[in-house]
């Protein structure tokens, strides 16, 4: 985004949060129904946003319908606050929502819009997480007709999805879905939890924070309410497992910046060809470094 660009608010009469009040009211009604029917993809009339579909328009419409004076917003993309998508969305919300604070710290935020990660730090029941979703329906890989998928969802019929997982095990000895892992909410609907890694799936289960999902292109809103069961699909004899970060010696790899051994790690190749690992959640990493510096300072005293 052009840093000198300003919305012509006075002339054009943009309302707070860019969306008109009718659009917000529709999104809000659907958020409430999505909470009442956990995991159900509630259809809504996704509005045209001043950015391409696929860049988080669904998440953005949720955020703009939720946000108000006194909110503190954090926007992350793949865990980082400083990547292009996060910076642009944050900038847009700062332009269109005067009076809303933004932050990069998870603990300060009341509202978090995220692309592809759930923050490492456990969320509280005073926070709301909004996830941007490209493909909301996990059944799309086994059933092309949406009308039939809706009936399958209503009946809780996921046998074809389980067959797909079984075929993976037969062919590859493990389930090959790395992200968007189908997850059953409150014992009924199976949802696509957006492209979060498997590592984040357990954070959906009994989360103290409300988690909302917005798919702008596919025009769907769905939710995992707080304190709700979220079980990844698995088999009795093949358990669900998250990404493995152990090295050849069987030790858990650590972040090269902060030393954390409990976070989701991104792999980089340094200029000299050496592989290094770093926390994907930039705030968690920075907080780890601050904690190290503080404890080193106390030790020196």
């Amino acid at each position: 985004m052009n840093p000198y660009y300003e919305l012509p608010q006075d002339e054009a009469g943009y309302s707070f949060g860019f969306l008109d009040e009718y659009a917000k009211r529709e999104v809000r009604r659907n958020i409430l129904k999505a909470i009442c029917i956990p995991g159900y993809q509630t259809p809504y009339a996704s509005r045209e946003m001043p950015m391409g579909r696929g860049f988080g328009t669904g998440g953005l419409q949720l955020t703009l319908s939720l946000v108000g004076w006194g909110d503190t917003l954090k926007v992350i993309d793949q865990g980082a606050d400083d990547s292009v998508n996060a910076v642009n969305l944050r900038h847009f919300i700062e332009l269109t929502c005067p009076g809303v604070d933004t932050t990069e710290q998870t603990r300060e935020a009341t509202l978090i819009q995220s692309r592809h990660r759930i923050p490492e730090r456990q969320l509280t029941n005073a926070q709301v997480l909004v996830l941007q979703v490209p493909y909301p329906d996990p059944l799309v890989v086994v059933e092309p007709s949406e009308a039939r998928r809706k009936i399958m969802h209503g009946e809780g019929d996921y046998s074809r999805l389980l067959t797909k997982l079984y075929e993976d095990i037969v062919r590859f000895d493990e389930i090959t879905i790395s992200h968007r892992y189908p997850t059953r909410i409150n014992g009924h609907y199976v949802l696509d939890p957006s492209p979060i890694p498997r590592f984040d799936i357990p954070k959906l289960n009994q989360s103290p924070a409300l988690i909302l999902f917005g798919a702008g292109r596919e025009k769907k809103i769905y939710a995992v309410p707080p304190y709700t069961n979220a079980e990844p699909l698995a088999f009795d004899d093949i358990a669900f497992r998250t990404e493995d970060f152990t090295d050849e010696q069987g030790r858990r790899r650590s972040c090269h910046r902060c030393g954390a051994t409990d976070s989701f790690l991104d792999e980089f190749t340094r200029d000299d060809g050496v592989r290094i690992y770093q926390c994907s959640d930039s705030d968690y990493c920075n907080q780890g470094i601050v904690a190290h510096i503080l404890s080193a300072g106390e030790a020196a005293l």
């Binding site: 009211r25 029917i37 009946e155």
Partner: protein, 198 residues
């Protein structure tokens, strides 16, 4: 926060900022069923009532509202710009908790359960009266909430309407200043463990 701007923007239940604040209260109420939320103490001017605030926040010309107990006055109907409908077909139903329901609300369909009605019920007092024991999504283990002025007939009917998930109705209970929400997933019993089977 700029307090001058804030008080001006919250001067009326019809103001967008007031409706945003009110929606967040309702969303918290639905996220944590049985949690008593005080509706927008910031907006305490003469046109404020909890019912008016809820309707202004959630309804417009895209939805239908039923008012079998005549709780919405003519002036509000014109301000809401919404459509009147019978309780059997309406998306939102406003009713009194002390009068037994004499209608069957829409429960949605298997493919589109979101078309099940939202029932907005006036009760006498939240936080006082008969304790209800709630379980389900949004509740860590068990939540107790007292409520007076809610007839047992409503709880019986609610149980019947919500018998086949995902079909069902969602409820907002309100008194003079507060609300609680009961999504269709919330299971309600008495303190002795009795449910409202017909």
């Amino acid at each position: 926060m700029n307090t001058d701007l804030n008080s001006k923007a919250l001067a009326s239940v019809w103001a967008p900022a007031a409706q945003q604040l009110s929606f967040r209260k309702l969303m918290t109420a639905f996220s944590f069923p049985g949690r008593i939320e005080t509706m927008t103490p910031e907006i305490q001017n003469k046109d404020f009532t909890v019912l008016r605030m809820i309707l202004a926040t959630l309804t417009d010309g895209e939805v239908t509202v039923a008012d079998p107990h005549h709780m919405i006055d003519d002036h509000d109907w014109s301000k809401l710009e919404t459509n009147r409908e019978t309780p059997e077909k309406a998306r939102f139903i406003v009713a009194r908790g002390d009068i037994a329901p004499m209608f069957s609300p829409g429960l949605g369909s298997l493919e589109c359960p979101e078309t099940g009605a939202t029932i907005i019920l006036r009760v006498e007092h939240l936080g006082r009266g008969e304790p209800l024991v709630l379980r389900g999504p949004g509740i860590q283990s068990v939540k107790e909430v007292a409520c007076s002025g809610l007839g047992a007939a409503w709880l019986c009917k609610r149980q019947e309407w919500n018998g086949a998930f995902p079909l069902g109705v969602d409820m907002i209970l309100f008194d003079a200043s507060r609300v609680i929400a009961l999504p269709r997933t919330t299971r309600i019993t008495t303190k002795e463990g009795k449910s409202w089977d017909m």
